[in-house]
């Protein structure tokens, strides 16, 4: 494989059914339902997806959910805030472990 993350692989996502159609059908049917308007609007779900895409650093998902967020009626300011939410949680996830470090230091040190 000459390179990872080829953009056209996103359009070919459906081909994953080749190895197991039943699981692929079940996944895509579930996936479609998840993003329908519900207690959360389709726009809110798309913004959550955009934030998660940044947290898991998936270029396919960032590509897909940047366009999808725009189509669902979000704008750049809302999308930037969503990415900051992912950033805050990732940063916070590191920092909150600092309390473990702090407790251990206190147990260890005079």
């Amino acid at each position: 494989m000459s390179t990872y993350f080829k953009p056209d692989q996103l359009d070919r996502f459906g081909e994953i059914e080749e190895g197991n159609k039943e699981l692929a059908d079940a996944f895509f049917s579930y996936y479609g339902k998840v993003f329908e308007d519900g207690a959360l609007t389709a726009r809110e779900k798309s913004l959550i997806a955009l934030a998660v895409a940044h947290a898991v650093q998936c270029p396919y998902c960032i590509d897909a959910y940047t366009t999808d967020s725009l189509e669902k009626g979000a704008d750049l300011e809302q999308m930037t805030e969503a990415v900051h939410v992912a950033t805050a949680i990732r940063g916070g996830a590191s920092l909150v472990h600092g309390i473990q470090m702090l407790d251990q230091v206190k147990e260890t040190m005079m």
């Binding site: 308007d37 609007t41 389709a42 726009r43 366009t67 725009l70 189509e71 669902k72 009626g73 300011e77």
Partner: protein, 383 residues
Amino acid sequence: MSQDANEFVSLPVVDAGGDGAMVDVEGPRAITSMRYRRAPLTEPAEQFRLLDAAEITGGPSGTGSFEADLEASGWPTLQPETLEIFQINVGKLCNMTCRHCHVDSGPDRVEENMDRETVDACLRAIDRSGAHTVDLTGGAPELNPHFEYLVDACVERGLHVMDRCNLTILTTGPYQHLPEWFAERGVEIVCSLPHYRKLNTDAQRGKGTYEKSLRALRRLNDAGYGQGDPRLKLTLVTNPVGAYLAGSQASLEGEWKEALARNHDVYFDQLLALNNMPMSRYLEWLEEKGLVEEYLAKLVNAFNPATIAGLMCRNTLSVAWDGTLYDCDFNQQLDMTMDLPDGHRPHVSDFDLEAWQQHVIRTERHCYGCTAGAGSGCGGAIA
């Protein structure tokens, strides 16, 4: 940013069909129309050359030929159904110069404005047409000096009248009485608001547009519009502010209603979500960005045969400022005159309902804009 910051500038425009006097209106800082920049892309032939150069492999026929895709979907010829809507483009003059405008309108388009004689020819044709709705568009239709005369004549005939309004015109010059004037006559207001927030609205329609649009919407609310009264219907229209397709109309309507009510105490009745047609100033923008092929592929890949029966060209007639007849306002801006049988002249003075019913609708690659996804047209989503 302060709420009353006025980013609009004074734009004297010629009252073209009246006494030639200048009318003072405000608008966003104008860009020059393609026509006045003498941009080569102003020519429809140049626009078709650019669209036809795109390599297209999607769609039912895989050819990128709209006609072939219609045929592959069971529509060997595209013909009208029942004439319901008589759409009149009264002129290209506008106080705004939106980035995506398919009419290439602006304050510099002072020459193309419908005169009284043609307005009267339209009224005579309306009487022969059986249409229940008269749809007025432009430019800013309100800038035509015969606008109020035309609206009154249609209302007197008991017809439903729609005004395709850019909103900002209602906040400027001698047009500020219009919200109440429209309400007295039960005119439906169909107005452009690409987004419920400022960023995208001003990016597409010019700096300061969002604030002025909200001011106009409040005036319309005060006049009784947008409160669920079917006689005073307020319809918003959104187009994508970029190279993507319009999302689900019902879903977006919910978002727009909630956000405008919560943030601005502004109300409306329905939202129409339209795709941008790959033509005129939007096509020029796509070309600048190198996105022509990508956008066209997006439209063709989303080709939806279920939209064909409800295409607006099947129930709508489009009349230009000079009385020439077209299948839609997009064909009108691309100089694709209506192809009537038996040598019928495509002009409103000679309008003949039977000839219209028998004619074949003209299509080109831009038509993929109306058949993509849930479909698109002046009436919003189709399928």
